[in-house]
Symmetry: C2
Subunit: 443 residues, 2 copies
């Protein structure tokens, strides 16, 4: 074996991903050294309880409860504990003592990203986080490097495997949300407490990270509009299917032209939002099944790109982490300063009310003359333009037709206008029930 | 604007891609400077004829016929002339005078890659070539960086847009190869001389580049097995469709376990091959339509990944080139030496005869008793195991059934064995015609 310079690697956390990373580092050491141009010596693994059961067999002598001692003196620190503290303090300590950092901690980057990137910039170190945005799918490097000479217009991502698994099974089987969720929990596709996934918190963190990178703007997590999938039911799925759509939980990051002021009539802004949306079955994202993830990127010059793969899982995420470790090692060997995060564009993030999309509105109304005209009038008043309208009569058990269903597809409308219009429809007296209001994405 | 360090950028070639690159460099200069951390001054464009018509309006004072003078003193040289010479000499000159090089020249890298990468290593410079493998699709960085801590097992790529356009239309319309080719030429999807595309030369160059990178091995172009699509006809497409397959021109790069010797019973080798193959309609590659490209990667830890996008086109390729220019600029500013190509694994490249795949063999035989038994016997003798066999009688115009068609799906068999077996079938006297022999990929 070549006589490589040796780098000290410290691992913080030995859960599902951490134990896989340790295992691969130890088993593939020679090969990784060839790739990195440096021997990667795993010098210790900081854990809370050295005696806890692990997914992989780890050498007992590497385990320590003293993370600080391990960090000081390391060349590369891999943070896989998750959560905000002590991850944040320990990453800052690592950067302060001259180490490069690799992390998969999306919650931390989405909330304290700027603080961490600033700390890295000040010492010329780098923070690598390929595993934080879409599991094993390489999306950070394509956005940061490959598309650095292009302008990203829009990202639409299926970035949460649990919700895609649930929606995909609802779509294929016609099942109800609660039944599929219970099954997903039994099969290990959903957590016992599924809130972070099904309410879109996980996807929102990833959206903040992707948007920050794509638009060179620090996007705070609070600026991401977030809706979960708990209101999606079998009837909505079925209606979507019959209309040529599928419902996916999408993270949408978009560059927009907005009115700024009288002097500067248009300027650029961005919108970052997570919600269940209708997408055409012809769209490449519609064929992302099961717990897979995919990120669809539209760029000015490159056109449409899609990155597809497994979204999560210990060993898949470990692949992304190790890629980062090799990058960090190469940088250490090559010398020079780290890349740093570019936030120079610093675009304003619009509230969701100022975004325009297409909508599909489904209403139940009394089957009486003039109802469709009234509904159409309320939409016109609210500046919501109708593209398609379909009225069907719901025949009752006794053969009488008391109720009708109206499905309206709109042209692009302002969310603010749409939302006020839906409120007016609900209060109009002619609408029995707002069955669903869904955005249509992807065209 | 920030007061950036200025880098001198020289462009060689102003064809479809070059003129787009120049245009974007000039128009988006400020934004690119923010991304790169350096001002990118386009100091000249070397062309053969300054008066030739161009796709984009370029400042006349930047055009020069003296490439050598332009190269010496440049910090970054972008080579977009194509062809072997003078591209090779000028890239070596650029590296020798301390510049980083960005190129989209797949023919050059597939034939002289090791010479160029060695020259870069000797001076600590870098060669960037994201645009050489799959147009605008970021695949080089994912393979070189994101998957650097993983082990790539197999790459299956649709890396030639022209042939995918032709095969996709044949599949959708049931048209003949010659008709679709003529139409593709009229529409600009195929060149007047389509040989490089339809005979698989372009795909073979890209396969050599991808395999070299994925397996850390210098793969010479001559080691790539290559077959084109000119023998694919409407009948084969139709038979594939009815069997649940589609025919795609695939670049397959595979890591294999092989017998080495008595002492070392198994070792690793690779196979790199380009041919039209059957692939299941359920496979993600089957839904790559039109002139799009996609690269499907199977890695030990990351699992299945797919990268999808526009394969070629001036402005799309320009996006990949500019991403490389930004990377080159960052490296120049950061200091340190370039990454270099890793060829340390240096695995042997197997001839196609030593590769195993599944096959589908279609035969026309006399409709007589015992023919299927004879055919099955010849396959068994040749160590080709039958997975499925379907015999159908072809009824003649006069109502008599003189001929039968046999479609055989095999288990994995050695190409050498298969090829000899097909020869024996042809010489057996019971087979009227070998209709087609196609590999089945993707499972």
């Amino acid at each position: 074996m070549t006589d490589y310079r040796r780098l000290r690697v410290a691992l913080l956390g030995a859960g599902a991903v951490g134990s896989q990373v340790a295992d691969l580092l130890l088993r593939h050491g020679d090969e990784l050294a060839d790739r990195a141009g440096a021997a990667l010596d795993l010098v210790g693994i900081a854990v809370r309880d050295p005696d806890a059961p692990r997914d992989a067999e780890l050498p007992r002598e590497l385990l320590t409860t003293d993370a600080e001692e391990l960090i000081v003196g390391a060349d590369i620190v891999i943070e896989l504990m998750g959560g905000i503290e002590p991850a944040r303090s320990q990453i800052l300590l690592a950067l302060g003592s001259g180490a490069d950092v690799v992390t998969a901690n999306k919650a931390l980057l989405a909330t304290h990203g700027p603080e961490i990137f600033d700390a890295a910039d000040q010492v010329g170190a780098s923070v690598y986080y390929e595993a934080a945005a879409a599991g094993a799918i390489p999306i950070i490097r394509p956005l940061r490097d490959s598309l650095a000479g292009d302008r990203v217009q829009r990202i639409m991502g299926i970035v949460n495997g649990t919700t895609n698994y649930i929606l995909d099974r609802m779509d294929r089987e016609g099942s109800d949300f609660a039944d599929v969720l219970a099954d997903a929990q039994a099969l290990g596709y959903a957590e016992a407490d599924p809130t972070a996934d099904i309410e879109g918190f996980d996807a929102a963190q990833k959206a903040a990270i992707l948007a920050s990178l794509a638009f060179h703007t620090a996007v705070p997590l609070g600026a991401v509009h977030r809706e979960g999938i708990t209101n999606v039911d079998a009837q909505m799925m079925d209606a979507a299917r019959r209309a040529g759509y599928v419902i996916k939980l999408l993270a949408v990051c978009e560059r927009l032209q907005v009115e700024v002021s009288d002097e500067a009539p248009t300027g650029e802004a961005i919108s970052v939002r997570v919600y269940p949306a209708l997408i055409s079955r012809e769209h490449p994202l519609a064929s992302v099944h099961g717990a897979n993830n995919a990120v669809f990127v539209q760029a000015e010059a490159a056109g449409n790109l899609m990155f597809y793969g497994a979204g999560a899982g210990g060993v898949q995420t470990a692949s992304a982490v190790l890629g980062d470790v090799v990058s960090a090692a190469r940088r250490h060997i090559a010398g020079g300063v780290g890349v740093g995060e570019s936030t120079r564009a610093n675009l304003p993030v619009l509230p969701v009310g100022r975004v325009t999309t297409r909508y599909q509105i489904t209403l139940e109304v009394a089957d009486e003359p003039g109802v469709l005209a009234t509904v159409a009038g309320i939409l016109a008043e609210g500046r919501v333009s109708i593209a398609t309208a379909l009225q069907t009569v719901i025949t009752q058990a006794n053969g009488e037709s008391g109720t009708a269903r109206i499905v309206i597809g709109t042209h692009r409308a302002l969310e603010q206008d749409l939302s006020e219009t839906v409120d007016r429809l609900a209060a109009s007296g002619v609408v029995d029930r707002i069955v669903s209001v869904l955005r249509v994405e992807g065209d």
